[in-house]
């Protein structure tokens, strides 16, 4: 284990502990706002961890991950609506109603994201480079406009979730508990990504990014490897979307917008592409900048834009790269 690798592990540990400690301290100081803020960081980091699998490991620059984020959000919103009204999502041939069980909602959110990603990925992965960026964007826009024109589910105005779904054993309505749930899911996603990249599948995925011809020569077709990674990536982002809707008690087409896709990319790049904890660092920095600059000046977007620009132009490798030294695999 080289010194840089050890430094990255230390950076990761500090990030993980800081994110866990912040809301605990906030609770003791009776500042619930910061618990919500930490939950947002954890959830958006989870969305970023999902994208990082496609973008960092697989080299698939998806500009449409908001599609999965929003899909997850709409699953939570629609399930809550039908559970609240005691009505049916589909009345025939099967009766499918709403649900107030978070585990069910998570499962459906991930399944829906997986199905969408399978269809979108199967077509998009026929293209590469800038075409891939744009076709994923186009699919996300399609879903965005579909949601806008759905009057049953709020159309442009979105959908309120009046009652947060429940979990067995714990009280998800409590802010800190909900944060810990999100944190645990983020940790699980990080562990899963880590194991996946370390496994044979991960090696094949990295090779599919760097040298697809070579992978094909070894007898492994790159296409199914990349498609699988794309679907797994979308499932994590979809799960994050469901959590985000529960956190805000609200879901709207804004969750599907291309700006949201851009933000998820920003989390990944700001933190450091391909770094395991990159999205965590990126999401934390983004949310902190947003809330503190927003409190300090009305022109926070200007400052945020300048900082982003500086990171791209001068700090390649993102925050984690800056703290832990250059990546070894470039």
């Amino acid at each position: 284990m080289g010194p840089e690798h050890r430094r990255e592990l230390i950076v990761n540990a500090v990030l993980a502990l800081a994110l866990l400690a912040a809301p605990l301290i906030a609770v003791t100081l009776d500042e619930p706002f910061y618990v919500t803020l930490a939950s947002r960081v954890a959830i958006l980091a989870l969305a970023g961890v999902g994208l990082n699998l496609a973008l960092g490991a697989g080299g698939m620059v998806s500009f449409g991950h908001a599609a999965f984020f929003g899909l997850g959000g709409y699953v939570a919103g629609i399930a809550a609506l039908h559970a609240f009204e005691d009505s049916h999502f589909i009345a025939w041939p099967l009766e499918i109603g709403g649900s107030e069980h978070m585990l069910v909602i998570w499962g459906i959110a991930m399944a829906a994201s997986a199905a969408a990603a399978l269809a979108i990925g199967a077509i998009s992965l026929r293209t590469t480079g800038v075409y891939f960026i744009m076709i994923t964007l186009a699919f996300a826009q399609m879903i965005y406009y579909f949601a806008v024109s759905l009057p049953t589910y709020g159309g442009e105005d979105g959908l309120s979730i009046y009652l947060r779904a429940t979990l067995p054993l714990v009280d998800a309505d409590d802010g800190l508990t909900f944060f810990l749930v999100c944190y645990a899911l983020l940790a699980a996603a990080l562990y899963f990504s880590h194991r996946l990249i370390g496994a044979r599948f991960g090696a094949a995925l990295l090779c599919a990014r760097m040298n697809p011809e070579r992978l094909a020569t070894l007898g492994i077709a790159p296409y199914p490897v990349k498609l699988t990674a794309f679907v797994l990536s979308a499932m994590m982002t979809g799960l994050a979307g469901a959590l985000y809707a529960e956190l805000n008690g609200f879901v709207s087409p804004a969750m599907l917008s291309w700006q949201r896709s851009g933000e998820i990319i920003i989390f990944v790049i700001l933190g450091g592409v391909g770094r395991l904890f990159g999205p965590v660092a990126g999401a934390a920095l983004f949310i902190l900048l947003e809330s503190f600059l927003g409190g300090w000046t009305d022109r926070w977007q200007l400052v945020l834009g300048l900082i982003l620009l500086a990171v791209v132009l001068f700090a390649r490798g993102g925050v984690v790269g800056l703290l832990a030294g250059r990546a070894r695999h470039d």
Binding site: L55, V61, F63, I123, R126, T127, G129, V130, Y131, I133, M134, I135, L137, A138, F139, Q141, M142, Y145, F146, V148, S149, L150, P151, W258, Q259, G262, I265, I266, I269, V273, R299, Q301, L302, L304, G305, L306, L308, L309, V312, L313, R316
Partner: protein, 307 residues
Amino acid sequence: MSAAFLIEQLLNGVQLGVMLFLMAAGLTLVFGVMGLINLAHGSLYMTGAFFCAWIAGATGSFWLGLAGGFVAAAAAGALIEVLVIRRLYERDHLDQVLATFALILIFSELARWIFGDRPLYLDIPAVLGGAVPLPGGGSYSAYRLAIIGVGLAMAAGLYLLITKTRLGMQIRAGESDREMIGALGVDIRTLYTAVFALGAALAGLAGGLVGALQSVQVGMGEPVLILAFVVIIIGGIGSVKGALVAAILVGVTDTLGRVFLPQLFGLFLPPSEATSVGSSLAAMAIYLLMAGVLAFRPKGLFPVDVQ
């Protein structure tokens, strides 16, 4: 449904199409020559619209405003090319996407700062305020016809510029071999700035022209930007001819879809559902078109060998 109505809708589609072409031409040139994805192109469109509305409001002359918007967008384009964009040519697309996304944030906030939070309004010039009779009994806005005329004139001008002039020769050379034209003594840095400013100026012109049809406000550039991306993807990135064909195709598909799809579904669905299904499908129509084109021609209708 009368023939006049159909012609009117077709003209609306073509008008949207030439507008999209003015946006897409800059995007596709910049990608073709410099290999750069520029998300901030919509901000240049917005810059053109704001300066046009502001100058027209201050001087009372729409034409002065339009010229001002054209020049302001070109200047803004040249400025960001020199300060930021030129550092991105050697980077991968990911860095380009992020840096130009940051530029959008900066431009939007600056526009809010300079011009205020309230939208600006721009009046159609009096000369073009009337309507032109159409064959079949209808009439059509003279201003929209003028937009179509300007757009087509710009397309012709761009064609002449690229095929007949020295600058055009260098642009074409830059598309096929970037290093070689540098080695042959062409000042690439200036060429790149010129191409970028040209694209920006066209976007600014589009912004100024559209400014008289809708309110001028922050965020007006991004929906058009996305449509322009769809256009250059369908046309084949780097191809100006492809951009023109695809822009008209997208403009007409979008406009006719919005008008006729709800009516089509009305034939076999109850009216309320027909409107909802039809309009949602219409909003998705161009993206379906794009996915369809890419599924069969992954490099667009007029593929260009971009390095």
